[in-house]
């Protein structure tokens, strides 16, 4: 009896996993995973193999595993270039109110900054600025464009 119930649960979990993974593949259209841009179209590079930006989900400032990987590359690059300072620009898409988006951009830029700091980069070398929705990289009104615009970009200062 008990075993049967356990088996049932296991099967249930198995099926749920199947459904969930089906969902996530269904959502993965082109360069968007869920709501986060995963493509390379707008990306520039601080150095070879070091992307300058990470992308966020709508209204979110949490870092995806891909974003963390990018930021670790930036941290390695910054450790090698000890005299280099950077500004992290935080941006939002056009689908929010202007003032909230300014705050959201600031939160995104700080999320990237905090992660760099956990990899040993001094906060003194990193300044942040939020542009809210004022500086879209892609001016089109489409889900792909919005996902490219929800970003934080690390820019060399000197």
């Amino acid at each position: 009896m008990k075993l049967e119930k356990n088996l049932k649960n296991i099967l249930l979990i198995f099926f749920t996993t199947l459904i969930l993974s089906a969902c996530s593949t269904a959502k993965k259209t082109g360069d968007i995973d869920g709501d986060v841009y995963t493509g390379k179209e707008t990306v520039e590079y601080l150095a070879s193999g070091v992307p300058d930006r990470v992308f966020f989900a709508t209204n979110k400032s949490s870092l995806t595993s891909a974003s963390r990987a990018t930021l670790r590359k930036q941290a390695t690059f910054l450790r090698k270039n000890k005299n280099l300072n950077v500004t992290i620009e935080g941006h939002a898409d056009e689908r929010g109110t202007r003032e909230y988006n300014l705050a959201l951009g600031e939160r995104r830029a700080n999320a990237a900054k905090d992660y760099l700091m956990t990899y040993g980069i001094s906060g003194k070398r990193i300044s942040v600025i939020s542009y809210g929705k004022e500086k879209p990289v892609n001016p089109k009104s489409s889900p792909i464009a919005w996902s490219q615009n929800r970003r934080s970009v690390t820019v060399k200062v000197n």
């Binding site: 202007r98 909230y100 700080n110 879209p136 892609n138 001016p139 009104s141």
Partner: protein, 445 residues
């Protein structure tokens, strides 16, 4: 502005007839606007010539502005002038009421102007044609260059007499004038009369400027600027053009507004990824922290009595509207509807809060009671936000953006207004694209 008020000598002969019949109800959408005849103001033949001003047609021009103001309210239907049955000067003395009633007019405005010794002398009357009575007779003197404001002041007096509420015609709107491609927008502070005339630019467009708001006397503006790439709240004196940074914050300050007494600026300060609400007293420079929460708290707006503050916060997960006492205590969430809510702005009458709502990919402008009940959505569109109240609390101005195609093609930003009844939605004429409007109070009271 002060000068104008000083030279404006208002002599009011209010004829308070208790049995006057016409009344315009502005609390509902008006599907049957009041037919009104605006006679051209008679220009006195003793008028002198003035350079740069066509005195001969000034009376006609003033009447046209009055007509336009009334038409734009949606509450009045100004009648065609070619049907008018009396010459302006004769009608002004005493209208033949029965003849005017034949063209279906219910109210008549007449007037007379005299330009002499570089002064513009104006008198006007409002007549109730059904009751065959004079409702207002008013006279004032100003400088001739103020002739457009004369038209707006007359409009305000008549609107007030007919609706029982203050008008909103002798007012200005400050906004952000936009130009250039969507990903390289140039933004300047601009100010214009409520009807879109007399546009002036207050900044050159060298740096990004956002969210200008008037102080209660309309002489100061607080706004956000990226001057030297430091996003901060600024204070601008419109008459002298002097600007100063507000406070000494080690990070971005934004979303500024004045307190109702004009003595404080309330705004957000962002630090280490967290935005909270602060006030700064302008005289003493005393800074006070109002909210202390790890969420984003922004878009603060005082109640007109200064006792409460409405703001939006994502402390519940997504953006919602909250109300608290002005010292930051007693925070209460007031929006629980479907969707997310932002940009609360307290009505000058104190009874309503206007807001932006986002739901299922659409943006709405709406109003609700100050406890969040009685939500009414006035307009739905692809993107619109940032409502600002007319001084009488009857009309909202906001901005609306269109969807953009490849490379930003087809993108535009314009100012729109709508009555809180949900009727009378209309685009405001601006010289350029425009956003972030703020409506002044009445310039002359």
């Amino acid at each position: 502005m002060k000068k104008f008020i000083a030279t404006l000598i208002l002599s009011i002969f209010l004829n308070n007839n208790l049995n006057a019949l016409i009344e315009v109800d502005i609390t509902r959408g008006n599907l049957d606007p009041l037919p009104i005849a605006v006679s051209p103001l008679h220009v006195d033949i003793k008028s002198e010539k003035i350079e740069g001003l066509e005195v001969r047609v000034l009376g006609e021009k003033i009447s046209e502005i009055i007509e336009k103001n009334f038409k734009n309210t949606g509450l009045f239907n100004p009648l065609q002038k070619d049907a008018f049955v009396q010459k302006p000067d004769i009608a002004h003395l005493k209208p033949r009421f029965e003849d005017w009633r034949l063209i279906k007019a219910q109210a008549l405005i007449t007037g007379k102007i005299l330009v002499k010794d570089n002064k513009l002398k104006v008198e006007f009357r409002l007549w109730d044609l059904t009751a065959a009575q004079e409702m207002i007779a008013l006279a004032f003197t100003t400088t001739p260059s103020n002739w457009r404001r004369v038209a707006h002041i007359i409009s305000d007096k008549i609107y007030e007499r007919l609706t029982g509420e203050e008008g909103y015609f002798d007012t200005r709107i400050i906004y952000v004038a936009e130009s250039g491609p969507k990903n390289q927008r140039v933004k300047k502070l601009a100010i214009m009369d409520q009807d879109g005339k007399n546009t002036k630019y207050l900044t050159l467009g060298n740096e990004l400027v956002l969210t200008p708001r008037f102080n209660p006397t309309n002489q100061m503006v607080t706004y956000m600027s990226y001057f030297r790439n430091m996003p901060r709240v600024y204070l601008l004196d419109i008459e002298t053009g002097t600007q100063e940074i507000v406070g000494n914050f080690p990070g971005m300050t934004f979303a500024p507004r004045f307190s109702p007494d004009g003595k404080k600026i309330i705004m957000s300060f962002a630090k280490d990824g967290n935005s909270d609400i602060y006030t700064m007293e302008l005289d003493s420079r005393l800074v006070e922290r109002i909210t202390e929460h790890s969420s984003i708290d922004t878009s603060p707006s005082f109640s007109p009595d200064g006792k409460f503050i409405a703001f939006n916060s994502d402390r519940s997960g997504l953006q919602q509207i909250y109300v608290m006492r002005s010292d930051g205590s007693n925070v209460k969430r007031i929006t629980f509807g479907k969707g997310i809510y932002g940009t609360p702005v307290w009505s000058p009458r104190g009874d309503l809060i206007a807001f932006t709502k986002m739901h299922k990919g659409k943006f709405f402008i709406g109003v609700m009671r100050t406890d969040g009940t009685g939500e009414r959505l006035l307009t739905e569109n692809y993107y619109q936000e940032a409502p600002s109240w007319s001084p009488n609390g009857r009309v909202l101005v906001f901005y609306r953006e269109t969807k953009a195609g490849d490379k930003g093609k087809g993108f535009s930003a314009k100012l729109w207004s709508i009555d809180i009844t949900g009727y009378n939605e209309r685009k405001l004429p601006t010289k350029t694209d425009a956003s972030d409007p703020s409506w002044s109070s009445l310039l002359s009271k």
